[in-house]
């Protein structure tokens, strides 16, 4: 190069070039091992825009998983490893703990069966405790109603099936198994208060249970409330306040108001018009309904398929105003979905996922606009839980 008077910027560049070539002026990057083993932790409380995607890993059911995603950034935050025939995590209302009913075999896929409720610390995702429970929690296509917390988090209720039907009651304060409630002919658990829940029975009636502080139970059976023979309701009900919204295979909504000792179905209504129903439109999926108390609104995955397609995925979401029972919006998802979920805040995100794909799609729930997609979320993702 020709040496002549250089402009300052060129001089600086030249000096830097020399430094790089010479290698003496820049310090080495600090060593990570000097800081010891570092493990990430999570903020507590969880953001309302975080979502847990639960996965029963159908081809390898001994390896159940749950994945935590930040809906605002699309960042993958962490994992839980949750054993055989996993259903879903339950988040404590104080944001400190995550409960997970789990099943293990002494030799992985055979041997002695043990069921536990694992408690995970929400900030570290480490095991904070374990409660042994009768080894009979129901193994089925995951449902939110497989396990629930009572409204004050005091009792954790788990549906058992072997094939006798019962409910395990766990006291979360004492961290122990309290009792098993016989619920012959009835399935799953739906909380209705701090000390009450119901199960749905095979004839369309409900088994209402009132608990006392010791986990003792008083049971009442109602008359049949659902039409089982003609158009049964699915298990995938959602709740706003005192009302559980059940939807039938054909798309009829049964708003159910239930307490410790009584229950009533409010006027039913259809997600579809007569013409739409005739054209085969109906809800479908594994978690096809979601609600948010803003509005309040009900979101449903819809598809055209007619009879016996109540578990089919859909690409359309219909949005209903629950106070007027009118459809206020329709939009298309980016791709097929078997599950949707809403965050619980006032500016909600809508999440959608397909059990046979692994992309989590995140939308503005108010507009249906796709905000971001997160790839490689799980193997057979099923239901989603938001704080």
């Amino acid at each position: 190069m020709r040496f002549r008077l250089m402009k300052p910027v060129h001089l600086v560049s030249a000096l830097m070039a020399c430094a790089l070539l010479g290698g003496s002026a820049r310090a080495d990057l600090p060593s990570d091992s000097e800081r010891g083993a570092q493990v990430a932790t999570l903020a507590v409380p969880a953001s309302k825009h975080w979502v847990w995607v639960n996965d029963f890993v159908f081809p390898h059911m001994a390896d159940g998983m749950a994945y935590l995603i930040d809906g605002d950034t699309g960042r993958y935050l962490g994992t839980l490893s949750t054993g055989y025939s996993f259903a879903h995590v339950l988040l404590s209302r104080d944001s400190k703990l995550i409960y997970s009913p789990e099943t293990y075999f002494s030799r992985g896929t055979r041997g002695t069966r043990t069921d536990v409720v694992t408690l995970y610390d929400a900030g570290t995702l480490k095991v904070a405790g374990e409660i042994a429970i009768p080894p009979k929690r129901s193994s089925n296509l995951p449902m939110m109603a497989n396990a629930v917390l009572t409204d004050d988090d005091r009792f954790l209720l788990i549906y058992n099936f072997n094939p006798a039907q019962s409910v395990t009651v766990v006291d979360t304060k004492l961290r122990k198994f309290v009792r098993e409630i016989e619920t012959p002919g009835c399935a799953l658990v739906y909380p209705t208060g701090p000390r009450s829940f119901f199960s749905v029975c095979g004839d369309g009636s409900l088994s209402l249970v009132a608990l006392d502080d010791a986990g003792g139970a008083h049971q009442t059976r109602t008359q049949p409330l659902f039409n089982v023979a003609g158009d049964p309701v699915t298990e995938k009900a959602v709740r706003i306040g005192d009302i559980w919204y059940f939807v039938s295979f054909a798309g009829r909504i049964y708003p159910l108001e239930a307490g410790p000792r009584q229950a009533a179905v409010k006027p039913t209504w259809w997600l579809t018009s007569d013409a739409e129903r005739k054209a085969g439109w109906r809800p479908g999926g594994i978690q096809q309904l979601a609600v948010n108390s803003q509005g309040p609104r009900l979101y449903a995955i819809m598809h055209r398929g007619g009879v016996e397609t109540h578990k089919d995925p859909g690409k359309d979401v219909w949005v209903f105003d629950l106070s007027t029972r009118q459809r206020v919006q329709q939009f298309a998802l980016k791709s097929m979905a078997t599950s949707i979920q809403l965050s619980s805040d006032a500016h909600p995100l809508l999440y959608s996922i397909f059990i046979d794909a692994t992309d989590l799609n995140i939308y503005d729930a108010a507009t249906g606009k796709l905000l971001r997609s997160v790839e490689h979320v799980g193997t057979t993702p099923t239901i989603m839980v938001t704080p």
Partner: protein, 185 residues
């Protein structure tokens, strides 16, 4: 369920369901159940003595029916007995529509349905016994929901893992059979 209707809107959905890019799960992961006269068929608990009375009906031993009488490919989702199957077909896993693969245990408790045999025009009671004790086979997934109900009616729900009914069967679900119990008359 118009599985084969290539012209319907469902075809893409049906195709997606049967030809997952991972070849393991197409569409909706659910469990297949069925009921059969487990104590009486050759493969079931061989040491059990035949009880005084039973409800097995007269079922042909597996593999003895002529192809014409029992038409179709038992390893195919479209096989007539699979009208309400949900899971991996044992025929692709070392067993058959009536026989569990080596080293698995047949669960005696199960889900039962009726399917129509197009060859003889009869309805048959089909028992979808699961084979259990190993992790999932992962091949030939098939899901059809004819007559399926919610978990509230266990006897007609294919969403339960019926490997849970017997301590010997050890809950891990491997694959599903479709065994004839008798004619539905």
């Amino acid at each position: 369920m118009k599985w084969l209707d290539a012209l319907s809107e469902n075809s893409a959905r049906a195709l997606a369901r049967r030809t997952s890019r991972r070849s393991v799960l197409a569409g909706l992961g659910t469990f297949l159940l069925g009921a059969a006269a487990v104590p009486l068929l050759p493969v079931a608990r061989g040491a059990d003595s035949k009880p005084a009375g039973d409800a097995s009906g007269a079922a042909a031993a597996p593999g003895t029916a002529s192809p014409k009488a029992d038409p179709g490919d038992p390893s195919s989702c479209d096989y007539w007995r699979h009208c309400a199957v949900d899971g991996f077909l044992c025929g692709c896993c070392g067993g058959s529509q009536s026989v569990c693969p080596p080293g698995t245990d047949m669960s005696p408790v199960t889900w039962i349905g009726t399917c129509h045999n197009p060859s003889d025009g009869k309805d048959y009671v089909i028992s979808y016994n699961d084979c259990c004790g190993k992790s999932a086979c992962g091949r030939c997934f098939c899901n059809r929901n004819e007559g399926d109900t919610a978990l509230f009616q266990p006897g007609q729900s294919n969403d339960y893992n019926w490997c849970s009914g017997n301590s010997k069967a050890n809950i891990p679900y491997h694959c599903s059979t479709a065994r004839i119990v008798g004619t539905a008359k």
